[in-house]
């Protein structure tokens, strides 16, 4: 189950980080990152996060490293869907790069779209996820969501 309100320490990255550079826990950008990140941390990225290939290997690395949420200036469509589907909440938050500094503690509220910086007191906002994405996240991803759905319904046409 992924909580829909996530509070944690942030790691800040720049613009245009493609799938290949995200692989191996952001290895292409910071080879040491995998040793620094701790479970519950939040990844903040710039524009165009997750551009390029649709391989799910790389985003799963982020989840395995314990990243609890992602807030980025913008996220490619395929990537955002994939992150939601593997149970790692991710939201587009225009302006977030200016709102936070490395090491800040922030909160991302995926239900309201609010992004308060707990150090500075400033509050940013993001593009709220649709109901369906929130339900998928609550179940921990698309696969557990589907399994849960079918368990309570008679045919797949009702999903």
């Amino acid at each position: 189950m992924a909580p829909l309100v996530v509070r944690g320490r942030i790691w800040k990255f720049g613009d245009s980080i493609d799938n290949g550079n995200i692989d191996g826990v952001m290895e292409g950008v910071d080879p040491e990152f995998k040793n620094k990140v701790a479970p519950g941390d939040i990844l903040v990225a710039g524009k165009f996060f997750g551009m390029g290939a649709s391989d799910e290997h790389a985003p799963r690395f982020l989840k395995q490293a314990g990243i609890a949420a992602i807030g980025a200036e913008s996220i490619s469509n395929i990537y955002q869907r994939t992150l939601v589907n593997i149970g790692l909440p991710a939201m587009e938050c225009p302006g977030i790069s200016r709102l936070v500094e490395e090491g800040d503690e922030i909160e991302i509220d995926f239900t309201s779209g609010k992004v308060p910086n707990l150090r500075s007191g400033q509050i940013g906002s993001g593009d709220k996820l649709p109901e369906i994405a929130l339900r998928i996240l609550q179940q921990g991803g698309l696969i557990p969501y589907l399994k849960g759905q079918f368990a309570s319904k008679e045919t797949r046409s009702q999903v």
């Binding site: 290949g20 165009f48 391989d55 799910e56 469509n77 109901e131 991803g141 696969i143």
Partner: protein
């Protein structure tokens, strides 16, 4: 307010009268494309089929949502790694057990071309694919977008996908392209114009009188590279060329939808095709595009004509026009990988393969090939007809990739440096 063709297709797939930008819909999928690699255990220890069977079991069935709408293709022929062989083995098992469609060997090639050539893409359809270049199919007037591993399982189980209706950007084409200017040059020019992020989570629509001058092959290239601008999809509204092509490769009817005259576009650009020169994209972004002349004298080590972007018969003919009676510069490698065995057969029939042999080019089996497999050493430079030139795409980080059309690749292989193909016509 009118709707764009993309909005109309989404509305129909979602069972709605109309949709507008920003709406969330649950759409029914007409076709699902899956590449062999998705069946390997790279992304999940249970593999795609293993996870799918668990989901199906929870539904009390062992059958996918609709086997005749699921098409799998083996993109590497033959498999060269354990991972790939494992993926292909599972892809065959899946197709056999579920009685879905699978292409390999002489029927196959690169999946996106195989989908089109075998008539699985029709105007008005809502198509998703487990590969980011699924957007290619918009060339025939369908909505098509890439999805990830987990979402593929969701579609296999339910036949549905949630989607946010994207805003649209329109490119209005006028005029007629000059010599050695094809879809690749138009799309590199467009990417250069709006930037590599220019269409993020948006639809690209290519329309206007100039589109009549653009072949089906070139339209496939135009739409293929939409994802390099981070678009959700790209689309060419169907015209006579589309209808003639789709009737030739498929049976049954299809919906001819068009954008309404009062449809809303977030941005619109007009492009005079006669003003576009052959384009080259410098490392490390496809949108880093400039006229070929800007790169004159840039030494190369390898030329590659291949990929779902540019290795169809139009591209092979362009390359042959340059290579006829010439030879690849000694010390330079030119690798030609036809996009499908169908393109391979046509090239054979038209004598193009013989021209390539005489020119000392290497012609390979039809597959994704060097686009997804390292072939460069540190410090080497490749000019490729493919779609991606990110750092390290074709070798170590110290290698680099320029992108162009097939004629420019061929001309550059002949001279050993980036060359305007019009000089060799």
């Amino acid at each position: 307010m009118g709707m764009t063709i993309t909005e109309k297709i989404i509305a129909r797939a979602a069972g709605k009268e109309r949709v507008k930008v920003g709406d969330f819909v649950n759409a029914g999928v007409d076709k699902l494309y899956i590449k062999d690699l998705r069946f390997s255990k790279k992304e999940d220890a249970k593999g795609l089929y293993g996870v799918l069977l668990e989901v199906l079991q929870s539904m009390g069935t062992d059958r996918v949502w609709d086997a005749k709408r699921i098409i799998t293709n083996l993109d590497e022929q033959p498999a060269r790694t354990d991972r790939r062989a494992e993926g292909q083995d599972m892809a065959r098992k899946f197709a056999r057990e579920q009685q879905s469609i699978l292409y390999e060997g002489a029927e196959g090639g690169i999946g996106h071309n195989v989908m089109v050539e075998h008539g699985h893409v029709k105007p008005g359809e809502f198509i998703v694919g487990a590969d980011s270049h699924t957007c290619t199919y918009g060339a025939l007037g369908s909505f098509a977008t890439g999805i990830g591993f987990t979402e593929t399982i969701g579609v296999l189980a339910t036949g549905k996908i949630w989607l946010k209706v994207p805003p649209a950007i329109r490119f209005e084409l006028t005029g007629k392209p000059g010599p050695c200017v094809v879809g690749k040059d138009i799309v590199l020019w467009a990417a250069g114009k709006i930037g590599y992020e220019g269409a993020i989570n948006r639809t690209l629509e290519y329309t206007g009188p100039g589109i009549n001058e653009v072949s089906i092959e070139s339209r496939l290239t135009l739409c293929n590279m939409a994802v390099e601008m981070i678009a959700v999809n790209a689309i060419v509204p169907p015209d006579d060329r589309t209808v003639a092509y789709v009737r030739e490769v498929s049976e049954g009817g299809f919906d001819i939808l068009q954008s309404d005259p009062d449809a809303q576009y977030e941005q619109a650009y007009t492009v005079d095709l006669s003003k576009i020169e052959p384009q080259v994209a410098a490392p490390e972004y496809p949108a880093n595009a400039h006229p070929v002349g800007d790169f004159r004298g840039m030494k190369i080590h390898q030329g590659f004509i291949g990929t779902c972007t540019n290795a169809r018969i139009e591209d092979l003919r362009m390359a042959a026009d340059i290579l006829r009676g010439r030879k690849v510069q000694p010390g330079i490698r030119l690798i030609i990988t036809p996009a499908s065995f169908e393109a391979h057969r046509l090239a054979e029939k038209e004598g193009l393969l013989e021209i390539f042999r005489q020119a000392d080019a290497t012609v390979t089996s039809s597959e994704c090939g060097l686009c997804v497999r390292p072939s460069l050493a540190a410090g080497e430079v490749c000019i490729s007809s493919g779609n991606r030139n990110y750092r390290g795409r074709m070798g170590p980080k110290e290698s680099s990739v320029f992108l162009s059309n097939a004629a420019t690749v061929a001309a550059s292989a002949v001279t050993g440096e980036i060359t305007d193909p019009r000089e060799l016509l």
